[in-house]
Symmetry: C2
Amino acid sequence: MDQAGSAHRVVIVVGGFAGLYAAKALKSAPVEVTLVDRRNFHLFQPLLYQVATGALSPGEIASPLRFVLRKHKNTRVLLGEVVDLDPARRTVALAAGGEVSRAELSYDTLVLATGSCPHHFGRQDWEQAAPGLKSIEDATNMRGRILLAFERAEREPDPDARRQWLTFVIVGGGPTGVELAGALAEIANDTLKNDFRAIDPSEARILILEGSDRVLPSFPAGLSAAAEKALLRLGARAITASLVTAVDAQGVTYRRGGQDCRIASRTVLWAAGVQASPLGRLLAERAGAELDRGGRVIVEADLTVPGRPEILVIGDLACYPHQGGRPLPGVAPVAMQQGSYAARLIRARLERRAIPPFRYRRKGDMATIGRHEAVADFGRFRFAGFFAWLLWLFVHLMYLVEFDNRLLVFTEWAYNYFTFNRGARLITERGSEAGM
Amino acid sequence: MDQAGSAHRVVIVVGGFAGLYAAKALKSAPVEVTLVDRRNFHLFQPLLYQVATGALSPGEIASPLRFVLRKHKNTRVLLGEVVDLDPARRTVALAAGGEVSRAELSYDTLVLATGSCPHHFGRQDWEQAAPGLKSIEDATNMRGRILLAFERAEREPDPDARRQWLTFVIVGGGPTGVELAGALAEIANDTLKNDFRAIDPSEARILILEGSDRVLPSFPAGLSAAAEKALLRLGARAITASLVTAVDAQGVTYRRGGQDCRIASRTVLWAAGVQASPLGRLLAERAGAELDRGGRVIVEADLTVPGRPEILVIGDLACYPHQGGRPLPGVAPVAMQQGSYAARLIRARLERRAIPPFRYRRKGDMATIGRHEAVADFGRFRFAGFFAWLLWLFVHLMYLVEFDNRLLVFTEWAYNYFTFNRGARLITERGSEAGM
């Protein structure tokens, strides 16, 4: 696959968990790696809800990609966005932010890991009314909305309108929804306790709307029940078996047991579906790849695109149906392991070795609920409560180690924990000026 | 001045150093305080350049106003902007962000402390090309520009164009300009050392354009010389006695010794003039206040507006010519002391006591240059070098104490110091979506 006299060129698109772990695992491999990303940092997405709720600052869950890969002498980072690809010529077309001109990049192996984005079932108006949570900007935007709702309630003389400002609805009861609800409850009960004069923040209503019959549907039923109880203790209620049928600036309508219900709320947050990045469709057009319903690329057992062994798709962009019938879930551990596998496959091919298909080794799933509750599912072992929370803390700090933010996040968490404070409660402005 | 049966109403406009220190000093005074601010946080402006250069996160130099004042039971915080005032009826008109309706607020005493904003000598095109540094958004915007310049240089094949991307010009050699230059030099020499493949960041040229004949013109000449030497050691050069005559996206033109010179640069940063906030002009129109050339309100010796003893103007918005001939400088210590004085005056009036006019007690001026150099001027005592830097560190941490961010900033600083890292190197997007 190599050109005579030059190293094998690997182009990795986007430095999320999948792409970054692929790049990391290619350290000192006899290849030339180019990591392309629109952003100059890797984002620790599982903690994004902590930025959205003012516990952490954006800088604390983001690591500059160049810094993470500074010792990888075979790797360069390129800021830009892949806007097209030509599998026959083995090139991708790059658009760099703010520039009109396009650059072309040749590859011998292409690794696509552009992930997913919030999916509002194709309803653009819902998107406006109920923002999702995938980027730093989403998180600071959500943080602003939450804090502004309390500010508006403080100024509102009409009790009904005030109640509407103090009602928070989270659409989706997966880990993100549950974690958001717990953090919101903590803000209302503790953080903002003495901050207002006209309202009592603890009167806030926090509701989770979940389509299936329990929150955390991917967890064992016992842990779902424990999570719902913990949420109730914090003052957040889950409304299960309900399908959202309308979202607007004044609230949300859902269908439950054949009946339409309405919640008047000025703050609806989206923690429901995600959709694969548009690069999937591009790959389908250009390389004949097949997509699943969520727009994910259905890959072979070695994560390659059928008929295009030199193109790998990993992470949330990939649909991997070769293990246990159901496709693997779009979570960080799957992305990390697929990233490492991609690197192993590239190394093996260069050495003309064969390796077995990708296999996801499930280590466990966790979700926190507020200050000291969590649920953890390690297959045989299941925990709920304080011990699960400590486990959650330990695991997340361990992963952050690699990105060098551990000390800072730990200080901030310890501080927040003991003071009930959340230091990063900033309402910042967006859209006021055009940035570069 | 009171209305029968109700407490004396003090309205403080904007929670910068001046306004917040006034509010703090009115704790448990027999008054009803309303602090109005467009933003929900107090900003520790002297460290804004550290956000602009990626050393600190916005949340670390901002404290929620409600949190700072949570124990002040006589104080409420209102999010909004003063858009008009009626001195005859003693009311201010408030516009709240995003709302069309205006609210009216009555006062018995009005304290105006809306500060200043970057002033590009009325040239809007310069504003676009050379952003100033007054808000969190300014800082993250500047941070993005600086980091993107290195990214562009990395991608640029043409050596002249690359050199232009790697040339940074700071207009203004006051404390902010010098601190920015030092931090930029540190980024180029240390932080980004191993991050790029095509460029060597330490080849960056960092230039300060200063109108007077030395940097830090408000400091003693010996300290200016020490600062220039320290800058040179870091690789930043000051071009003094030069007046900027043009700024555009391709560089800057300045006049020096009768000659026009041009520097090709893609990153021009504005650390020169500031101008009083537009509220000064409104006050001139409505209450007949007199303004100085910078738009500042010329106040009486007790900080009141001539003929309007119930309106006080403090901080950067005030021109105070009653001490030593020259108006007091627009720095944080003046603002803090004027804030405390305003509170003392209000208390004294309620007790029908007279107090002497305001007097600024100058404690000292400081400016840092990079990692371990600073200059400090305490009148009789003057320091330059490492000891001055330790002093600077100590003083800034002490002031941050009150805002409860000390532990975090200290951890971050210690960490940055020993690792040469700057964790908050994020290029975030602006203007992509309309925020609430």
